[in-house]
Amino acid sequence: MEDIEARFQVDWPGFSLDIDLRMPGRGVIALFGHSGSGKTTLLRCIAGLDRNRRGFLRVSGEIWQDGNVWLPPHRRPIGYVFQDASLFPHLSVLGNVRYGLRWAGKENSARVEQAIKLLGIEHLLDRYPERLSGGEKSRVAIARALAVNPRLLLMDEPLAALDFRRKQEILPYLERLIGELDVPMIYVSHSPDEVARLADHLVVMDGGKAVAQGKLADVLTQLDLPVRLGEDAGSVVEAVIGAVDRNWNLARADFAGGSLWTRDCGFPAGQRVRVRVLARDVSLSTEHPVESSIQNCLPGTIDAIGQDEHPGLALARVVIGDQIILARLTRRSAEGLKLAPGREVWVQVKSVALIE
C-alpha cells in the first residue's frame, strides 16, 4: 500500500504517453530517458498540472485521481521543482520559501527553517531572484518545495540548466536532503551520472512508454535495455568503505565478492558508498594477469553477453559475489577468448567513481 501506482494515457498530436507503473513509495525514483521520451509529461500528470483526467494515481494508499476523483494540483501534497527554478520574481528568497505556508499550515514554520538550513541559503533570504546565480536559484526552488512538507517530491531536471561546476555544487545538497528527509522523490533526468548518484529505483522511458524499471543496479545492468547509454553504460555497486590507505591516498570499497580500490574521497571507514563502474573501464581476461598497472582484479562469472550499440562491440554481464558489473569488449575478443555464460573470468577495473 506504500506504493505509487500510476496509469496515464495521453494522446496529443505527435506525442502519446502510455504508462502503467507501480513504483516504491520510498527512496528516490529516477525517470530516465532522452528528451521527448515523456518523462516531464508523466511528472506533470502526477502533479496534476496537465489536466489528464483519464488516468489513475494512488500515492501511499490515497487516491489522487481515478475515474471519479481528480485532485487539482493545489490539493495534492507535493513539492515540485521545475527545471528553470521558476522563482516568483516579485518575492524575496524568504518570500518564495514561505509562499506555500499560507496553505500548508503554520505548523510548518519549523519545516521552513529546516529547508533553509538543508539547502544552505541562510545568507540569501533578503535577496530577490534576479540577483541570484543559477545554482542559488535551484537551491531556493528546492527549499521552497520542501517547505510545504510534501508527501511526494517531484523534481523535473532541477540541474539541467546548470553547468558542470554548479551541478557539483548542488548534488551534495540533494544527497543530504535525500539522506535526512523521509520523503519519496521522483526525479526526472537525462543524465546517467545523476541517476547513478541519486536513484534507488529506475524507470527508463522511451517514446512515451516505460520500457524498463526496477532496482537501479538491476536496470543498469540489463543488456537489452532499449535506451542506449553509449559511453555511460555501466553499473553501480553498493559497497562499504573497508579501509583507507593514507600513504597512497586510496580507499577500499568492500562488497560481498570482493573489493575495489579507488581514490580516497575523504569517506571514513564504515561509510556506505556507491561505486560507479563504467563498462568501458572494465576488461576481462581468462587468466589471472600477472603484472598490470590496474589495481583492481576480481574473479567473476559471466552471466550473459549482449550486443552493444556498435556492431563491433559486445557487453558482458559479470557476476561478482552479489553484485553485477558490465564490461565492454570487442566481439572479436569475446570470440577469441571463447567467452560465454557460465565462464569464469578475471575482471580488471581500470577506474571507478565513488559516489555518496
Binding site: H74, G79, Y80, F88, H90, Y99, G100, A104, V148
Partner: protein
C-alpha cells in the same frame, strides 16, 4: 479666472466620468483579459475581436447603435425602464455605459498582454505550493502584471477623457450632466469664442501629454526580471 465656471464644471464632469469608467472597467475588464490570456477556447477569437471592435469603429457608429439599444425600443432601454431606472440616453449613467464599451479595449488589451507575458510557469509553481486558483491570481498574477494594470488604467482614463463622438450621440450637451470638456470646446468654437476654446484645449493638451509622459517614463520596480 483662467477658466470659466462652466469650463470647470465640464472638466469636473469629465474627470468623474473617466474615473467611474476606469474603476468599472478594472472590475469588468480584468476577468475578460485573464480569460483571453489563458483560454484555449474556440471562442477566444470572437470575443477578442468583439472587445477590439471599438478601436476601429467610428464613434458615431458605436454611439448610434448604443442609442438604439438604450432607446425605449432597445433591449437596454427596455431593461432599464422595466427595472424602474428610467431611460439612459442623455443621462450621466448612459454616458458611463457607453464609455465603458467605447474604452473596453484600452483596458483589456494591455492587461491581456501583461497576463500573457507572465506565462503559465509561475502560476503552476504557485499551484504546486498549495495556492488555490483565486489566490494564485491575487498573489502572483496581479503583482506580476502591475505594470499592465497601470498602463491599462491610465490609457482607459485618458481615452475616456478624450471621447467626443459617442458622447454627442448618447449624452448630447447638458451642462453638469453630459457636457464633458471635449464637447465644451466644441461649443466654444461653435460660438466663435476662440479664446475660451484655446484655454480649455490647452488644458486638455497638457493633460494628455502628462499622462503619456508618465506612461513612457515611469516603470515600477516589481516587473523587473518577470
Amino acid at each position: 479666472m483662467f477658466l470659466s465656471d462652466s469650463d470647470l464644471q465640464a472638466i469636473w464632469l469629465t474627470i468623474r466620468l473617466a474615473a467611474t469608467v476606469t474603476l468599472v472597467l478594472l472590475i469588468l475588464g480584468t476577468p475578460i483579459a485573464w480569460w483571453l490570456a489563458r483560454t484555449a477556447s474556440k471562442w477566444k477569437g470572437i470575443i477578442g475581436a468583439t472587445v477590439a471592435l471599438p478601436l476601429v469603429l467610428p464613434p458615431s457608429v458605436l454611439g448610434f447603435y448604443l442609442l438604439l439599444a438604450m432607446g425605449p425600443n432597445g433591449p437596454l432601454g427596455w431593461l432599464t425602464t422595466t427595472l424602474g431606472l428610467g431611460a439612459l440616453p442623455f443621462t450621466f449613467a448612459g454616458l458611463v455605459i457607453a464609455s465603458i464599451i467605447y474604452s473596453l479595449p484600452f483596458m483589456v488589451q494591455p492587461l491581456q498582454n501583461a497576463f500573457e507575458a507572465i506565462g503559465s510557469r509561475p502560476l503552476e509553481a504557485a499551484a504546486t505550493l498549495g495556492a488555490p486558483p483565486v489566490a494564485v491570481f491575487f498573489t502572483i498574477a496581479v503583482p506580476l502584471a502591475l505594470q499592465g494594470f497601470l498602463t491599462a488604467a491610465i490609457l482607459t482614463f485618458a481615452h475616456t477623457v478624450g471621447e467626443f463622438g459617442v458622447v454627442l450621440m448618447i449624452g448630447g450637451n447638458i451642462p453638469g450632466v453630459t457636457r464633458v470638456a471635449s464637447v465644451q470646446i466644441y461649443d466654444h468654437v461653435e460660438a466663435l469664442e476662440y479664446v475660451k476654446a484655446h484655454r480649455l484645449a490647452a488644458v486638455m493638451l497638457a493633460f494628455s501629454f502628462l499622462v503619456l509622459l508618465v506612461l513612457y517614463q515611469w516603470r515600477p520596480q516589481s516587473t523587473k526580471g518577470a
